[in-house]
């Protein structure tokens, strides 16, 4: 930028500054420019790979048992065929979106190794489904998870207590259950297992926005106007960046030390609104979003809260210790230098004045 601007200035003012310069850089630039282009291309390619990481080629038959695939013949299709048992006539019917399940997503979900009838009644094997099937018992998470070594780390009981205290508790909204947020057919562990905060946040927030951004999911639970998320969060600058980098629950749920994911969603007026709760070295994000990554408070090249810096830079929370020290030292030296310079000037000025007066 500097050479370009000065070059333009010289051109316009007709002053030739190139002659005596014989800039040596041209030799160097020949190398720097291609290297820079290569570097940029590499950066962009790794950045785009981040998004491709979850695409894979596998055969669906290897992942889902044959009986469940039969269910999915209808439940993953946009239309399905129904045969009249008396005339043999076939009609094509719509499968409504609500009842559709993506087989790939199902297979990769936490409970994807289950057969459909592990949770649903065997009566669903009959079509059209008989009415008795509808009165079948619906399992809750705790039915299967209240005991067991493997699940102890999740603290299901604490989670349930928290949920029962939250604004979504069945006490306030009748048909609300764990399944309302944890879609039985797509649920997977994210915060604990995915590396990328951006993906975790996107997945988590989609859970909430499934209702709070979509009236058709909201109004089946409660008769109330859905408030506009964007205008309710207008006080937050760079809103889309914040919604991509922090989870709704980071602001809306009370932190509980015993569980990784806070489940006590508080009334809106108790949500985090104070910027410095996140934008400071004691960022609450370390107790929530980055909780599982917090090992040391200051590592990698001296960044405070270094676990954040691979995916974000939160003003105020990510100070660099060494930069802080270096900048203070430079600052101090400059002030000291000026102080010494000024006093020397003054002393010498007085000396000369005296000499002049005496001569």
């Amino acid at each position: 930028m500097l050479p370009a601007t000065i070059g333009i200035i010289s051109l316009i003012h007709g002053i030739d500054m190139t002659k005596p310069a014989k800039i040596k850089l041209t030799g160097l630039l020949r190398w720097i420019i291609p290297l820079f282009v290569l570097g940029a291309a590499w950066v962009y390619s790794t950045a785009s790979q981040l998004n491709d990481a979850y695409v894979n080629d596998v055969n669906i038959e290897d992942l889902i048992d044959a009986e469940s695939l039969e269910c999915l013949d209808c439940h993953s299709a946009i239309r399905y065929n129904l045969e009249n048992p008396y005339t043999g006539e076939v009609v094509s019917m719509k499968m409504y979106e609500e009842l559709r399940i993506d087989p790939m997503e199902y297979a990769s979900s936490t409970h994807g190794s289950f057969a459909c009838t592990d949770c649903h009644s065997f009566e669903y094997e009959i079509h059209p489904h008989p009415i008795e099937a509808k009165f079948d018992y619906e399992y809750t998470c705790l039915d299967c998870h209240s005991a067991g070594e493997q699940f102890a780390q999740f603290n299901f009981h604490t989670i349930e207590d928290e949920f029962m205290r939250s604004v979504h508790a069945p006490e306030h909204i009748e048909d609300f259950s764990c399944w309302s947020c944890h879609n039985p057919h797509t649920y997977k562990l994210t915060t604990r297992e995915w590396g990328s905060v951006i993906d975790i946040v996107a997945h988590n927030n989609a859970m909430c926005l499934g209702c709070h951004g979509d009236i058709s999911h909201y109004e089946v639970l409660i008769e109330r106007q859905l408030t506009n998320m964007l205008s309710k969060h207008e006080w937050l600058p760079n809103q889309s960046l914040h919604f991509r980098k922090v989870r709704c629950i980071d602001c809306h749920a009370a932190v509980n030390e015993d569980i990784l994911i806070p489940h006590d969603v508080l009334p809106a007026d108790e949500a985090v609104r104070n910027c410095v709760d996140c934008h400071s070295t004691n960022s609450i994000l370390l107790a929530t979003l980055y909780k599982h990554q917090v090992v040391e408070r200051r590592n990698r090249f001296g960044f405070f809260n270094a676990e954040i810096t691979s995916e974000a830079y939160i003003i105020g929370a990510n100070r660099n210790y060494y930069f802080n020290v270096i900048s203070l030292v430079i600052f101090g030296l400059v002030l000291l230098g000026i102080a010494i310079h000024a006093s020397l000037r003054y002393i010498n000025y007085r000396k000369r004045k005296k000499m002049k007066a005496s001569s």
């Binding site: 005596p20 410095v276 600052f331």
Partner: protein
Amino acid sequence: MAKSKRLYLYPFWLRIWHHVNAVLMIILIITGLSMQYSNPVYPVIRFDLAVSWHNLAGILLTVSYFIFLIGVLFTSIGRYYVIKTEGLAVSFAKQLRYYLIGVFRGEKNPFQVTEKRKFNPMQLITYNLIMHAITPITFITGWALIYPETIVLNVFGYSGIMLTSLVHTIAGFLISIFLIIHLYVITMGKSTRENLKSIIYGYHETHEGDEEHE
């Protein structure tokens, strides 16, 4: 009494620009520091206010910068910014020596302001760096941070936003250092007040006699 001549070096628009620029820079530095060292217990400026003031001042600074750039490109002040490489090293060294040694001995400033040259070699280089490299870097990275979707996600395992913020902060730091030295150098004219007077009134007094320096 030495003969003195008045040169009109700083046209009115340039002085207005200079002061507006100075005020914006100071707002940016203070709000910037307040955000960087945000502290929930002792907020210098409330965080959200600091963010909005910083953004506003940054936007105005960008506008102000382009006004300056047009001035440099299309008015006569542009010639003061041209660097002639011939003899630059020698005159730079002379100037440095003057500031480090000569000024204490009451020597004459090796650089004389004329209609053709306003900046001594040290000023020439720092002003060019500040105005044509560091300031643009701060406002380009600043705009990128206002529109973070323009920033590459991840560079060698570090957030692109973090690297952009880092460059932004370092550039801002350099400008703060420049500002302090710039303020001190005001006092190094023929008299302690003279430089201040010329940036306010626009005139520079050239003295042909060898008057005593302070």
